[in-house]
Point group: none
Amino acid sequence: MSEPRFQRRKEERPQEITEAAFAAFAEKGYAATRVDDVARRAGVSKGLLYLYFRTKEELFKAVIRSLVMPRIDALTARIDSADMSAEEFLRGPFMDFVKTLPGSPVAVVIRLLIAEGPKHPDLVQFYWDNVVSRGLATITRLLERGVVNGEFRRTQVNEMPHLLIMPVVFSVVFKLLFEEQSLDTDKLIETQVDMLLAHMKGELS
Amino acid sequence: MSEPRFQRRKEERPQEITEAAFAAFAEKGYAATRVDDVARRAGVSKGLLYLYFRTKEELFKAVIRSLVMPRIDALTARIDSADMSAEEFLRGPFMDFVKTLPGSPVAVVIRLLIAEGPKHPDLVQFYWDNVVSRGLATITRLLERGVVNGEFRRTQVNEMPHLLIMPVVFSVVFKLLFEEQSLDTDKLIETQVDMLLAHMKGELS
Amino acid sequence: MSEPRFQRRKEERPQEITEAAFAAFAEKGYAATRVDDVARRAGVSKGLLYLYFRTKEELFKAVIRSLVMPRIDALTARIDSADMSAEEFLRGPFMDFVKTLPGSPVAVVIRLLIAEGPKHPDLVQFYWDNVVSRGLATITRLLERGVVNGEFRRTQVNEMPHLLIMPVVFSVVFKLLFEEQSLDTDKLIETQVDMLLAHMKGELS
Amino acid sequence: MSEPRFQRRKEERPQEITEAAFAAFAEKGYAATRVDDVARRAGVSKGLLYLYFRTKEELFKAVIRSLVMPRIDALTARIDSADMSAEEFLRGPFMDFVKTLPGSPVAVVIRLLIAEGPKHPDLVQFYWDNVVSRGLATITRLLERGVVNGEFRRTQVNEMPHLLIMPVVFSVVFKLLFEEQSLDTDKLIETQVDMLLAHMKGELS
DNA sequence: AATGAATGAGTATTCATTCAT
DNA sequence: CATGAATGAATACTCATTCAT
């Protein structure tokens, strides 16, 4: 008879827990986060949490996955809409996107992966398959398009797409460790992209 | 026949323990390494370990320091002996040195710092003061020398020495996570240095 | 057939644990009592114990408090109901009460306080405030009433209420140490009270 | 050939260690005192300490014994020289002696015995035999002499010599616990002795 | 579905005691 | 005699996980 007005749907629960867990992991790291904390943050009992996630590790993996998926979609979407030259794309959408990463949840994901990755090979594999590998392939294709277009020379960079994402990883690590010693992330990224473009175009920058 | 249960080797103990601890930390990370394990690896009782290192944390710090110090000395030594042009130095000693890092204990140190750094601010500070800060300053000086010599133009890179160490950090992180997905570290470093030199010299590469 | 492994009895637990702890402390003293033992005696897991008492020290304090509080109430209650002369009160309710102490848990509390007190100043303070100080003040008031009534002379004893509780403390300590060498506690107390009354009344006893 | 000038005789060592141990025990109690500390205080290696005392417990016992013995002798000596009336002796030498106790090492011994006694029955027995029992017997004899002399009536006190030492034990315990709440030990002792004498003499005090 | 009381395995640290030197 | 490096048993406390309600 009595209908609780704010009865939460069970469909929303996993995400709520996942979000709480992300916040906790981001703050204290995986190992130092207690399941109790996550439950409390999510406004949920410990028992319920275990109803949705069989172990702390499962929860961890779910967090990573749920953070990674949206980013992947965003990335893919932008690339599909690319009716511009390779250089334009790199200087425009690509750089915009990349610049947001060091301050985004992705930074946390990277940190968590570095710290806990060795213990979760399947998670790393997932990340590789869905993010890194796809990302590198996409960049490779983009550069290839530039070569075909006549925009770029074919250089070492065609086989080293890592050079374009390097500044992001570096920035994340650097900021993670030496927060206080500020690093101008945007400038680092810009300089690297500039250099790479000059190199590929065979021009002086 | 049988070895004596007690072996007095005051001098060697700390290093033996430190080495055992490094091996253990490298394998399983700091948190997952039990003090018991370290002691057993070092062929030493737990009590003795605590005679030399007051806490697990102290031991951790000692490990980091003992691994970092020799590298610092090596770096410094090479730089002092530099009677060559800036480019020669970058292409020669610098690149040789830098290429050894991803496969060296330094990689482990970086991993440990990333994973445990947030909990050990003084350790991070130590690392910053003795390694990163000094390293960046050294590179900056080198580039400046190149500018003064007329070898290089003055560019963004003069204010972003990070661009030269970026590939090392990236390589370490990449290999740490995706060991199986091989990355040609040497080539990455070479390409980056090539590009930077071309950029600074204002030439095509 | 078999009892369930889990028994939810939130309300009773603290007291059950406290009682088990008292028994253990009484038997072996605080330092020599292992938390494990207390848990086992209480039929409870160690973890649960720590759910209710944050540290062994907290548990210790709770034990002392739970033993002291009822006594305090008993004492206060009797004094409030005193519509008799001071002498009658001292010879009646007071002596009855005091005679029960050496064989009661209070003896254990005193022993624990003596042994562990120096390490738990706040506990000693608590005991002072709630028991000793109040007890002495009560006796002082009683004696004063006797003086005002004309029952007693004003003597040194008015400023030394300790003389009335001395035999209790002495008995406890004596029995604690030399259990085998019997001491007639009751007689000791009676003699002392007799003497004090004679002294205060200015009569021969 | 070379003769160390300050070579300590082995006869002095045990006492030096015993004294250091007493200081340590008095400060921190038996359980909280580390053998290391005692050795350091005594300016001696841990190994040497174990050459003289087989265990920490042995050391403890030796400390108690070495502190008790001189007191016993002092007590005995004074009693032997008693060519005065019982009352004169009680008011003079006895009270002088007794007043020194609460501030003397005896207080520490009592504290240690209370805290550790239950674990060291033989030590308690030793203390009973050599101190308490002899002390009570001596007082009993003294009071008896008073009765024979015609100084005193025969009262309950003749069978309760404890009444005379009670204030000392009480003072020690009280000061041990409530150091801050000062108690005028001397006055307590005097009042008690006064009362007892009046009682025994059948006079008003 | 939901709770949170209850479990118990896991671990850093201390310290009395031993023994190679 | 003398040292102090080395041992190892002992113990408080944590936290992921379970399950009676």
